[in-house]
């Protein structure tokens, strides 16, 4: 089992090897393709810079996705529950969700200027749709008998929402959250290249201007690592919150 898992590291090792060989063979000059050791040195010499920028990016994603969550989950629960709200919003959701948030950067800058505001707004939008759609989907998937049990017990609407609809939709909401965090992370890096003057996106774009390809590569590694970590964190939270689901689904993803 452990050996099988290690198999997944093989492509990464090959990539490192290829990089090393390319450096040795001087395929590109060292300014463009730095040796591995030089990239690692970034994590020592420029650590404060990298950490600062990483924290700015993370903070923006947390702020943006929290807003998405606060809007999408209650709204999704209601759209899933009330047919008239579904009819009212269905078209709009289908249309707006196919607009890539990144394409809104020019508008965001026009209206909100440069800084946190446009970046967080775009992250909010990137997370909104996957969360909204998955929440609605989760509500739709609820077993009809459970709603009947609640109605037969003459449960008030608020109790039905809180004790039945919300928990029933939680697994789907977490699926939405994973997608939202992933989308938010993509958006933050892109937005920072254009609309903000801090964060990992800004850092690597800036490094390009000063020919610091070691910093660019280090930045990319950090971006990948944080993205992976965030995804794992959401999965962990899901398996804790939805622990009642164990054994109900064939495989826990």
């Amino acid at each position: 089992m452990r050996l099988q898992r290690a198999l997944g590291l093989l492509p990464l090792a090959l990539l490192l090897l290829a990089w090393h060989l390319a450096v040795q063979a001087k395929v590109y000059p060292p300014v463009l393709l730095p040796p591995i050791a030089k990239v690692l040195a970034v994590f020592v010499d420029d650590l404060p810079t990298v950490v600062d920028h990483a924290l700015s990016s993370i903070g923006r994603v947390i702020a943006g996705i929290s807003c998405s969550f606060a809007v999408a989950v209650p709204l999704g629960l209601m759209i899933g529950r009330y047919r008239w709200l579904d009819l009212l919003t269905d078209w709009s959701i289908q249309i707006f969700r196919s607009v890539p948030p990144i394409s809104l950067i020019p508008l965001a800058i026009l209206f909100l200027g440069i800084g946190d505001k446009p970046a967080i707004s775009l992250i909010f939008l990137s997370g909104l749709w996957p969360l909204l759609i998955n929440t609605i989907f989760g509500v739709r998937g609820i077993e009809r008998t459970l709603i009947k049990v609640a109605r037969a017990a003459r449960a008030a609407e608020f109790l039905v929402m809180k004790d039945i609809i919300l928990p029933a939709a939680l697994p789907a909401i977490f699926t939405g959250l994973r997608l939202a965090v992933g989308a938010g992370w993509l958006t933050v890096v892109t937005a920072e290249m254009i609309a903000v003057k801090s964060g990992l996106g800004y850092m690597i774009l800036n490094a390009q201007l000063t020919f610091r390809s070691d910093l660019i590569i280090a930045g990319i590694i950090v971006i990948g690592a944080i993205g992976l970590l965030a995804d794992q964190l959401v999965r962990l939270a899901r398996s804790y919150v939805c622990r009642w689901q164990e054994g109900l689904t064939a495989s826990p993803e």
Partner: protein
């Protein structure tokens, strides 16, 4: 009190896209307080529909239904329902599931806990209060559903093939337990089944349904003393009669 459940000229037509389905036509019956009445018939003859109507979960398209002297307008507080697929909330422990109907009525938390403990014990679930439904056997889940229904002291217990999905041995055990609970609580029971033996084991009275549209073909009194022996002459004679009424080719148990 007499005439605890009253159906007068009840009909139900389900609107379906192309042609509507007439599930019930001209259902007239009354059922006295404390009676154990079985609704017997093949699948598709409207037994579940009638139970949902009496539960106030569906509205009749013709006629009138009254429970406890009041014409139905939604679920009656005097009734509780148990479903074949048990209708337990998978995200709630056994205890929380049993407490749900009380919570829906605004019973205080302390009293809920005490009453739930009492019915958990009565249904033989002591020690399983903190388990989730997926950790229980089919028979135990059904017990939880029954415990939950009993907590509000319903004067009518509506059961839709509650033991239909269980193995013969578990079913026999739960039938005995249900009878002993009924003898203690003296609630009115409407019990849907497609099994002749089950109806004969349990009921004071059997309403035999025939399909297309669903109608009551016969109203049979069962005057056998309890506990009933399926091997006895009187039992077999009644079983034969019922088999003829239903129009079964063989015993379709």
């Amino acid at each position: 009190m007499n005439r605890f459940i009253e159906c007068a000229g009840v009909g139900k037509i389900y609107p379906v896209k192309t042609e509507s389905v007439e599930a019930l036509r001209g259902i007239d019956f009354t059922c006295d307080s404390g009676d154990f009445v079985c609704l017997l018939g093949r699948s598709g003859c409207g037994k579940s529909t009638l139970l949902q109507l009496v539960a106030g979960l569906e509205e009749p398209t013709a006629g009138n239904i009254a429970v406890a002297g009041k014409t139905l307008d939604g679920p009656s507080p005097a009734a509780a329902i148990v479903f074949q697929d048990h209708g337990l909330f998978p995200w709630m422990t056994v205890r929380k599931n049993v407490e749900f109907n009380m919570k829906a009525r605004g019973v205080a938390a302390g009293e809920r806990t005490a009453t739930a403990a009492q019915f958990i014990e009565m249904t033989g679930l002591t020690g399983f209060g903190d388990r989730y439904p997926h950790e229980l056997s089919g028979g135990m889940r059904q017990r939880v559903g029954i415990a939950r229904a009993l907590t509000t002291g319903p004067r009518a217990l509506l059961m839709d093939e509650p033991f239909g999905a269980l193995d013969a041995q578990t079913r026999g055990k739960l039938q005995d337990e249900l009878l002993s609970i009924w003898e203690k609580q003296r609630t009115t029971v409407l019990f849907v089944t497609h099994s002749i033996d089950e109806a004969l084991l349990l009921a004071d009275r059997i309403l035999v349904f025939t399909p297309r549209p669903g109608r009551i073909a016969a109203d049979i009194k069962v005057d056998l003393p309890r506990p009933r022996a399926p091997q006895s002459e009187a039992f077999s004679a009644l079983a034969r009669e019922l088999r003829g009424l239903i129009g079964a080719d063989r015993d379709f148990d």
